[in-house]
Symmetry: C2
Subunit: 489 residues, 2 copies
């Protein structure tokens, strides 16, 4: 594979690999992709390998001379593809599934071909306008007010960071953009609020933006893992009483552990009264908001200042594609816009996407989203989401009907949190569930993950793959029951 | 195109688009891609359209029902492709060219197919190990010490932000990660340093991290636009004298306007003496460091604490692919690592890529880099870079030989800064050059950009496209001369 013994050709060719070789490799890749999407479900979801097994098969130093694409693709099939964890496997029930559909792959091929950087309208007119259009389509699909403008980022981690940076920027008279936060006697400690179930990306934003994790208040939740509004109100009051300055609240629609939805309406009212920025992390459940019946669970969403929603999570768009909606895009723009001399342009009134975030480089992510939206249409996207939620409710009903198991959180969407409840102490039960997780995942035909709720180990089955059917879910449940009954003996 | 009049089929199909339709569309996309790469040079680099022209051709609301991929691809060819600015055009001489090679497109197709999120080793074993391998190959290619570890991000904007966050975290005893920066009487103002020619992403990092733009010292440069070490030393001294705490210096290897290289060795020595973190922004010129003769211009690079280098800029890898090298990866890890319950794993000693940055979601960017490195081999990558630099030197020699033009900065790599010098005041000369830029770009067969140096308008021709030949550069020069001579009449 590593042809360091091949004599160098002279002279070394310039330019790209030959167009014939590229065309052949693109068609070969098309077949590899099409075959993979059909056969993903026949593989182990997680490969049975140990750390280092892949690297060991590859040369430690880069090749000096060009190698044929055919040979590289053969190595891909032999070394890379079998040693992946297959997020596109219909038995991938861990974390939040992140499904890439076929139309999304087509979109990424074309985006890579164009290799566009739409930092300015001028450097990517169609990419800039398609981003504005597809995010507006999405806005309509979740029935947000027309004042919201969408901005595509790589991840919700960045979307939430941008939103909280805008919130910090909006605080009157502090001019943090210019003066910074350190060494200022006019600046009290600045505080943020989210529920104890909020995603770790909010902690990372608190670190990066200089709020500090100790100034991020983790508000307790109710018995359905939803932020308690009166506890939020009390935390804000206590901070103000002690001279700190509350800046923003992050509510979650679809928490990572249980998909609980914070009481958006009540939180909104507190934010309005307290003049705080409200960011809604709807990375997962915001996708379900394209169905009116699920949107109803997030009532009040349209009153948030910003909302993040990931089409790469549950709208069948390959990673990465995360949409940040902001009600007042000028706040985001005034937090981030900087136009150096080498990026000045003369088109008045156009959107230059670089002005709305950290990253100057912006690849053409809206292309795959546009192709997916059109290839599925709203109705087929909705049908898939409804089917996933319906399978989750059926799985929940099986757990509820089974002695020795319990469902430990409500199932508003497509994630079920459950555990075995064998006789024994809570610690013994935890160990039993950890072993059950490991045993159940052993065969590799599906992959579930775990979390902790109220300090206890909980198993978590998340449905979201475009290729998952009722049979995949039923097979997983059958195995889980068998493993539990073997472990009880 | 928007088939809202088609009667809905019943029931709506679930799952993905049919595998036959996907396979056909992937092959169609392969041909569109292969054709595009061959014909990119026959198009206008920038389309002759006005803002809104694209959006106007597309329906304002999302389609309810699925549309055939064939039809979507036909719309792509009709509405999207012709209305892009073609960064893959051999006449793209603006900003920094960012070339996507054919092998890179193959890599992106496969990455989208796998749709992997390598946040943990367990969720993407081959992706995690290939990222470690390819970045180590790159480390060897630029001859960095083995202690440096590479981490792939989307952009250098994020890489530099992560580096400066690590620098802030490393400052002894401040515990900014937990306590934050605001409202602390124990925390002086924190300062950063870069040259007046450094990239705007450093300002954005200063904003995001809460340093504030007024605490980013823009150090003056010498007559070759390189940071003046004695001015850096003096700025640090003055800040310390006034009670501020210097944290980090950003040196640039290949500034955006002129590709000047700060005196890395001298800056390194100051940083070591002052115990400051040194980040090297080598997003562009770091790619040229794969050639020993260009690496010599960045002497001292191996003593930096971190280095950012963008294979998507000048190693023929489609956007996005930016590598952050850090000498002590534990600093980055301790700045960012957080492991919530739902992401705990039991593999000891593995690399979990999520621990080294902000973004939890990490797509499989090393795949395209691996394919590009192998398809080109080190020697063909070097040959392309040498050819680009040689074409730039030839263009420079044409300017120098031409009365009424001047070269306004040294040409260490592949960018030439020049201007026409007609009789008249400096402001009149500026207006002349602005008009010359606009006239020269008018025909659309190439695209150059501008910047300002010492307050004056400067034209900028940047070579970096894998398909650019001497003929493309000569044609651009011919047109620029013609436009200048027409404007002088």
């Amino acid at each position: 594979m590593h042809d360091s013994n091949t004599p160098p050709r002279a002279p070394t060719p310039l330019g790209d690999v030959s167009s014939d070789e590229i065309r052949a490799a693109l068609h070969r890749a098309a077949d590899i992709a099409a075959d993979y999407l059909v056969t993903a479900g026949e593989r182990r979801v997680t490969p049975a390998i140990a750390p280092g097994d892949v690297r060991r098969q590859l040369p430690p130093s880069p090749p000096q001379h060009p190698e044929p694409l055919e040979q590289i693709l053969a190595d891909y099939r032999r070394i890379i593809e079998p040693n992946m964890t297959h997020w596109n496997h219909p038995g991938f029930f861990a974390y939040f599934p992140s499904t890439g559909s076929g139309p999304g792959v087509v979109g990424e091929t074309l985006a890579a071909t164009l290799n566009n950087n739409a930092m300015l309208w001028r450097t990517g007119p169609a990419a800039t306008e398609l981003e504005e259009l597809t995010t507006d389509w999405l806005r309509q699909m979740i029935d947000l007010p027309a004042s919201f403008k969408g901005h595509i980022n790589d991840t919700a981690s960045i979307g939430s960071l941008l939103s909280l940076a805008a919130a910090r920027h909006r605080v009157d008279g502090l001019d943090i953009r210019s003066k910074g936060m350190a060494g200022r006697s006019d600046l009290p400690a600045l505080t943020l609020y989210c529920s104890e179930q909020a995603h770790s990306s909010i902690d990372k934003a608190a670190i990066v933006l200089g709020f500090g994790t100790s100034n991020l208040r983790r508000i307790p939740t109710d018995d359905a893992f939803r932020m308690r509004p009166e506890a939020l109100q009390e935390a804000i009051r206590a901070d103000r009483a002690e001279g700190r300055l509350p800046v923003a609240v992050v509510a979650t629609a679809g928490t990572t552990s249980t998909t609980s939805v914070d009481p958006v309406r009540a939180v909104t009212e507190i934010c309005r009264r307290e003049k705080l920025w409200l960011h809604l992390d709807a990375a997962y459940a915001g996708c379900a908001a394209i169905c009116p019946e699920f949107r109803a669970l997030m009532e009040g969403m349209g009153d948030a200042d910003s909302i993040v929603l990931n089409p790469h999570k549950w709208l069948f768009t390959p990673v990465d594609c995360s949409v940040l909606f902001v009600r007042d895009p000028q706040t985001l723009r005034s937090a981030f816009s900087l136009v150096p001399d080498y990026l000045r342009t003369d088109e008045p009134g156009v959107t230059n996407l670089m002005d709305y975030g950290i990253q100057l480089g912006r690849r053409f992510r809206s292309l795959k989203l546009w192709i997916v939206m059109r290839a599925f249409g709203v109705e087929r996207l909705q049908a898939n989401i409804r089917s996933h939620c319906s399978m989750a409710r059926e799985f929940e009903s099986w757990i509820r009907a089974e002695p020795g198991f319990e469902v430990v959180a409500p199932v508003p969407f497509s994630v079920v949190c459950f555990r075995a409840t064998p006789p024994g102490s809570p610690d013994e039960q935890d160990r039993f569930n950890e072993r059950l997780l490991s045993d159940a995942n052993q065969a590799g035909d599906f992959f579930i993950s775990q979390t902790k709720l109220r300090g206890r180990v909980v198993l978590r089955l998340a449905i979201g793959n475009v290729r998952t059917t009722r049979e995949h879910v039923a097979a997983a449940w059958k195995r889980i029951r068998e493993c539990a009954s073997r472990a009880r003996r």
